[in-house]
Subunit: 428 residues, 2 copies
Amino acid sequence: MDKQKVIRAALLGYGTVGSGVYALESRLKDEIVKKTGAALEIKKILVRSLGKKREGADPSLFTDRWEDILNDPEIGIVIELMGGIEPARTYVTEALKAGKNVVTANKDLLAEHGGELLDLAVEHGCDLLFEAAVAGAVPIVRALKQSLAGAEITEVSGIVNGTTNYILTKMSEVGMDYGEALELAMKKGYAEADPTADVEGYDAGRKIAIMASIAFNSRVTFSQVYTEGITKITARDIRYARDFGYVIKLLGIAKKEEDGIEVRVHPVLIPEDHPLASVRSSFNAVFIRGDACDEAMFMGRGAGKMPTASAVMGDVLDVMGNMVHSCCGRVGCTCYKNLPVKKEEDAVSRYFLRVQVSDRPGALANIAGVLGNNNVSIAQVYQKRSENGVAELVIITDRVKERDFNDSLTVVKGISVMKEISSVIRVY
Amino acid sequence: MDKQKVIRAALLGYGTVGSGVYALESRLKDEIVKKTGAALEIKKILVRSLGKKREGADPSLFTDRWEDILNDPEIGIVIELMGGIEPARTYVTEALKAGKNVVTANKDLLAEHGGELLDLAVEHGCDLLFEAAVAGAVPIVRALKQSLAGAEITEVSGIVNGTTNYILTKMSEVGMDYGEALELAMKKGYAEADPTADVEGYDAGRKIAIMASIAFNSRVTFSQVYTEGITKITARDIRYARDFGYVIKLLGIAKKEEDGIEVRVHPVLIPEDHPLASVRSSFNAVFIRGDACDEAMFMGRGAGKMPTASAVMGDVLDVMGNMVHSCCGRVGCTCYKNLPVKKEEDAVSRYFLRVQVSDRPGALANIAGVLGNNNVSIAQVYQKRSENGVAELVIITDRVKERDFNDSLTVVKGISVMKEISSVIRVY
């Protein structure tokens, strides 16, 4: 290049991540030219209202009109950081149709409409990159799409929600109960005022849908993901789990099996020597199993202003390199298969079951008999006698179809010695 | 594409990894077309001698003449899996000059001549990819070059040699001594007949040189890496380390400091709650620290036939995608800075020091005094009385310049109560 090329981009949204991306762009100015062969200029920033005072960026950059960006032919990259389905979906669609490349951190959008948007990107010769949408600064999207493309991935499982991992870590390491740990997470800024999407596993569900789609080359949407949150986990479960050699984590699990894809989010007992077991606090980690690559794990900051901004910026630099070399739109949708997603009840799991029973001779035999009659075999059992005539029984089962386990649980509930089913948690 | 595009490649070498790549290519035939838009054909395989009987590939593919490959205009990708500097350097150079893309797993070559070869690749518009050269199936090269390009990396440290990690794991978990563990590693195929390059840290040194070059955008060659192996580590050191809350690992460490790059390989005591501490057996892991991305870690199989072949194949697919879209040579040498590499003695470390002293009153005070006079302050100390008039003293120091520590050690050696300096190991 004789004359310095300048690539212009627009930010959609100037919240936590948006202002982080802007700050990073200012800090990296010279580096960006060396890394990509072009300079980057953030030309416009779309916000909902112009009234609010904003730090960091020149006020003249802000606009509340999407048309100002869409119709500006100089703007080659749209960086979508608004979150949510609409209006993000409309903006991204229109940007791609206008031949603009898109970088997004929007997991809600990708987990439901990733397929159509990636097809649109290819159709218009544009890049649509979304590394930040899955696990923040953990570079799992590029690893799955490119580095591990030579292996057949059979499992992607991960701790992909920092809020719940922080809560479970506090419950596990300090002995807090769920409510106490959630309150602390809110105070520390790890949990939002309405923590539902995190604690019920919806956030993790969106991420595992995206990862499953890439890993298995087959579209999986969030609506196909079975989700179960951590609200029923007690400090007592965590202590028992430890006695059996496990830690409890909220895991997104995606497996490719002979009869289809299993994809789900729920709490699990993980053996304490498994790499995922040592992922503490608000860290994220993704564990991968494949034929040629064997096992791998990627750990890092899954959220937060600068880690997310760094992932967004990595994608922006990639797009810039492609623009300089006129080869955008190379890596589009990789879902060239159409594997079925299995029903939750067809999945096979081991279970941790904690129940309260009348402390009478034969109570354990009674329950073990019912489980056995329903093809649920017991791997480990622990019985604790209490003073008031109630005994606590903790059972870890062998592998069983979830349907069969649920059926047996219905029968167990009806046994006369059964007082309460306190916990049912799957074992990884 | 109307007519199916076929991309032809040549393998240089048909040993463990070469035959793995060939097997993987056969297994992935259809997938490759879907992933890249072109079919892959391994057209020739270069071997030293045609006499040997080889499994897996059609005998007509083999040749012992490099010219057959170099002068075949149909061959667009050369996959170099011979290892060592020559003739690999000549072949890779000639291939790039002939406009052929190169994928290599050759760390020896990259760690010394990476700069010149990457420049050559850019000059001729070719790709030169080498994911497999660093930590096998751990996709660290692409992560550093692309995903983390938006962050300023300040540290890359890793367990990048599976042989030594296997040996140290056995010493640590089963209490084996070094010789015993090495013998087992050989029996299991984790160590070669001549284990020097592994146990002396040369292999790890090559890998950390490559990673430092990419992470800090500044060329670091193997000859600039300080290396120290694991041959002097004893089971006794490992036990003491554990008592202090550490595990011992062979670490490649690269840090960007204000006055230059620190790059080295040596055993270190790692706090047992650090993510690297839980990386067991022959696994590799790379730990990264940066401004925006914070901390991240990547773990996986660092060696072995299929994991390495999978990393090679990931690069081959990337090159094929670039060929289909006519945009090879985009990501060349990223060393646009020229930071100095610091001298080893200017580095700052904490130390674990195990010594034998005469069991006389004041022995500890004596040694502590000498250390103190040389600006070495003591963080933790443990003294064990023995029967024969000799006491064992274990000291962990605060941070100290290596030069100052070595000076103080010279003085300590001359103290009358000093019997033996048994171990000197750095603390991470």
